[in-house]
Chain length 336, copies 2
């Protein structure tokens, strides 16, 4: 009986090895793991990086436990126009709550939201947006908030595509996430968006479990209500996972530096910088929104998803730029 | 080519199923996955819970993605006497830095540390301890701190056992961690200790990767030094992962309620409460330090690892209590 522990360890180790060493590349050389990516330099760079870091005996080989890949969400995995989807959620939530807050009819930024006056909402600046987020995201338990998010996603439709927001995810990125996971990578979201706004749906949509989501958060408080413990969401910022917050969030939540990072805006600059400044093979990629017909075209001057500093840095730091129009055969899954 | 994505998904799914559905229990009915646990009610309760939650077709079956198990560290996975090992680290660190801080000779609590006057150190209270932690844990980059922790662990010896601190881990708990992982559980540490104090060694010692560690933290700041990005550790508390902080830490970092929780003190009360109050099968366990000969014996009045409120609650909430003296054949791996 005394050698049983090692026996269990062996079983686990054998199974892990089986999972990890499956020769994905050699198994069927003709199979294309990224069918929605057009052939070209971008696709080649991704395939090459994954091959050289996972092939046994490769000088660039990276042990499986270090294969961490972090993805921004808004504009990288799903669309973010004409406004961040989470802001659309906050606006719908304010409207749903308005009957309980008659004072909002005269109080900004709520008045502007109720009148669909997006110009005034934008003009209310960061303080106004934080107010909107707080009334729509705080004051309930974590379980209640999860139900609210799920309900909204089940009913809300995107104004341009008239489809649920979760259908506006990028087909090529879904393929990339799967391809990386099959090759032993742990895929994380590292987003400026709210961590609890993402967790209820990312597992189903991206295959990324809630525990692999890093995001902005408000404070939580543990309380016992009538003998039942709950976590109450407080109207107080806990952590902003954007810009210089992204490497901090990565360290807090993951505790290892990623070897691959994917973003689309200046909010991802520091995540890309932190990732690609590490030793050994590193990969940084920027999704450049260049397709006004199938998606949107925006970059240096866009108030949402502004891509300026990071676009200048990309060639200097060797970050790969995806030209959505050129590189992607399909944008959304429903196009197929 | 268009069906390749589903082909990769199938490969991944098939491999996952293979990993998950391996019938650990039926494979070798005679093998004991917990050889350092004496037969009895405690061991039986663990085996039964894992069997009923993982066996296909069981009415208590829990899908693999929901199999989250959280473990306190100090006093649950390794010893915590005669003082928390991280405090021993802080004290050694203060001594190592003393030559650069001549004022410490006259300034409490540093003076007491330098004179090995632990009574005065304790009397300095929480404020004194926080001061010690800040000077020893902040003011360097995350990479530098990791190196400092590793150096200390490689050289420091426990005062009673004269062995490296990382040898004072509990053999029965190592077996339990492995047993749970083999059965598809994701094992997490949820500790009041410093997250960055644990991450450098827990993967090697417990098989728990850095990204599955939840703990207390100080604030980090992203900076670029001479073109090289670093994360600087600031002398400012970010999060205290103890007592009511544990369910908050679990929600922040994991985003799902565990189905199993393991602790040893009142600091784990809320984690056990939060875990076992969830719907469906739940398991709470308390390690009761009852073995003064092989380890230590302490409970209701101990300043370290005080177990009072949780000991009273255990029978009411159905939490299993491990009697270390009775239930554990071995305490430490080196006894075998």
């Amino acid at each position: 009986m005394s050698d049983c522990r090692s026996c269990w360890v062996s079983v686990a180790a054998a199974l892990s090895l089986l999972l990890i060493s499956t020769p994905v590349f050699s198994q069927d050389a003709k199979a294309d793991p990224l069918p929605s990516w057009n052939d070209g330099a971008t696709k080649k760079a991704i395939l090459e990086f994954v091959r050289t870091t996972t092939e046994k005996g490769s000088p660039q080989y990276v042990p499986v436990e270090q294969r961490i890949a972090t993805f921004d969400n808004d504009g990288t995995l799903w669309s973010e126009q004409p406004l961040y989807f989470q802001l659309a959620f906050a606006i719908d939530r304010v409207k749903a709550l308005a009957s309980k807050h008659p004072d909002w009819k005269e109080k900004q930024p709520f008045k502007a939201v109720l009148e669909d006056d997006m110009k005034t909402v934008s003009a209310s600046g960061e303080r106004g947006l934080v107010e909107l987020v707080m009334v729509s995201h705080a004051g309930m338990t974590t379980d209640e908030f999860e139900a609210i998010v799920k309900d909204w996603l089940a009913t809300a439709k995107h104004p341009r595509f008239h489809r649920p927001y979760t259908e506006l995810v990028y087909q090529p990125m879904l393929e990339l996430l799967t391809f990386l996971r099959v090759n032993g990578f742990k895929t994380y979201i590292v987003s400026g968006g709210g961590i609890e706004f993402m967790r209820p749906w990312v597992e189903k949509v991206y295959g990324i479990p809630p525990e692999q989501v890093v995001g902005s958060s408000i404070k939580l408080k543990y309380e016992v209500h009538d003998g039942k413990p709950v976590l109450v969401r407080l109207p107080e910022i806990d952590f902003v996972d954007d810009k210089i917050g992204k490497p901090v969030g990565i360290q807090k939540f993951i505790g290892r530096r990623p070897i691959m990072a994917f973003g689309n805006s200046d909010g991802d600059f520091e995540m890309l910088q932190w990732t690609t400044a590490g030793k050994g093979p590193r990969f940084g990629l920027i999704v450049h929104h260049t397709d006004a017909d199938r998606e949107w075209s925006y970059e240096r001057k866009s108030p949402i998803g502004r891509l300026d500093k990071a676009l200048d840095e990309a060639p200097k730091s060797g970050w790969v730029i995806v030209d959505m129009k050129q590189d992607w055969k399909f944008i959304y899954p429903f196009e197929k």
